[in-house]
Amino acid sequence: MNPIEQISRRQLLVVTGKGGVGKTVVAATLGRALAASGRRTLVVEVDPRENLHQMMGTPPSGGDIMAAEPRLWVQNLKPQQVLDQIVREQLKLELLTRRVLDSPIYQQFAVGAPGLKELAILGHTYRLLHGLGGPGTPEIDTVILDAPATGHGVALLAAPALVSEVITNGPFARMAKDLATLIDDPERCGVVVVTQAEEMPVEEALELRTALQQRVRRDPELLVINGLYPPAPPAADPGAKENELVSLWRRRRLLNERELSRLKESWQGPRVELPQLPLDRGPELLGILGRCFAESARGL
């Protein structure tokens, strides 16, 4: 089966990679592709600076689930709010809740306890997938998580197992256990790594794969190589003065090709290539990128 059809069956897709490689644009592209294929899809962005809405042409989410297209929703998630909400639900009494939330111990604990924030993010997606999102939330088949930069992406996937190790009973423990099972199940959860064909991002993508194998015993399902310069025309005669534009174009493309062949050698598994396009962030860019994505994926 085509790897794209495969990933469209997952309940949870975690999109990760080095900062600045275009994770958000890839998450949005995948979201549109899945929604178009009939899956009810939510793209969750975990970043205090909202970017996703700009790409989708929707108003800022401010933490809410926003409808973007038929069967497609977007949300900017604040982990701290999710944690506070769990405390509220557990304690029920407003006065007690306030005291807990305001106490320095809770604040230190919420920031510092290993894996708790990551668990909050995953827990939120878990509840949505199980129809526990509360009144007014749409039914969701797939959540695409635009995860924080590399190291944090691994931390996110490793969190449930870690939390089940340190917290052995109670609601956090139960949620962690369910999530660990979800992440362990290749039928339900997949990881998409985004990179650019430049030295540092490729380095990080390869390290990320090793870290995923070691810490969550998973291989990424798909590698998306974003922002490629177009193939350059053949070089001018040696000695002839080349146009500066063409020269920059050729050298940047060469750099891309060097990294592409490194990936070809060292990355097992499907790879999709996306071009750099002369378009600003926004719905038009997403539309064309979606076509390029489908085209590249057909060749897999």
Binding site: P48, F109, E165, I167, E198, P230, L245, R252, Q276
Partner: protein, 367 residues
Amino acid sequence: MELISGKHPLIIVVGSGGVGKTTLAASLGVVSAREGRDTLVMTFDPSMRLKQTLGVGEEARLREMPVAFDAPGKLHASLLDARLTFDRLIERYAPDEESRRRVLGNRFYQHLSGTLGGILEYMAVERLFEVASDGRYGQVVLDTPPTRQALDFLEAPKRIVGFLDSGALRVALKPWFDDEGRLKAASKWGILGRRAERFLDEVVGMDLLRDMAEFFQAFGPLYEGFRDRALEVGELLRSKQTLFVLVTGPGEERIPDTLFFARKLEEAGYNLGPIVVNRVHPMFLVEGTPPASGDPCRPTGWELLTWAGQRDRRGLVELAKLLSREQPLVDLPLLPDEPTDLPSLEAMGRQLEGRLAEWERYVSRSS
């Protein structure tokens, strides 16, 4: 602009991920050594080739390594490893073997995800403080971790002090558990205490609480010294002698980020020097319309690079409008190849110097 003239013994390079901070930090270091100052470049995560150029391997995590660079000033490089520094600090300060083992073996410590009151970030600053205060270097250039973690990193000393003063530690250090690992209060308060214990156990689990309590108790004796040290480190970062260089990428979508970062730095009282917009596509003059392919998924380099040149120019103009006139703002072009060897790093540093001099001339002319 007295950026590379040695007036600022400590230069801190900040900015979001993927904008070329590390390369720029290295290039500043190379120029500084060329000008005769003994220089240390401290970096987090250089590329393989930059590591080879600087000649830093795993050993650079433990000590500063000399770089084979023939210049009047000696050039050194080191890698910051917060976790390793933390481990070493515990080795050094633990009163005895038993408490050392207790901290290092504590599950809470092992999994400490890096943000408990900013301790891990603080460790990196701690190492910086050591080298900055021992006087061996005329110039230290610090590359910071990517993205907004850099802000966490800078705020780490303040947060440590805040944490120590908040009373949370005092609470955490109380002997909460008896020898059998049960909550002491639970037995004292009878049935109410037992209910409290059951409630805590259900919400977070007693094991985690025990681990945390044990961690703080084992770690407690180290904290007092931390407070004074953290205050000193905070002062160093805010000193007029410390200069921040903010690196960013081109394009309008980067602007909010750049402004946010610049504002945060100034609000927090750091000495913000130049903002460097890195990897700006040059403006190419193409007669007529650039040759197009007609296939939107396969733009030609002509289309792409003329578009990118205009986009980056627009971004620069927009950013300049939004910044105060006194704020130094310079751009560096996207290079055909990333500078990784010493000569190309030096060329990059020189180019930055030149751009800053141009900016100064421009400002003095127009005022």
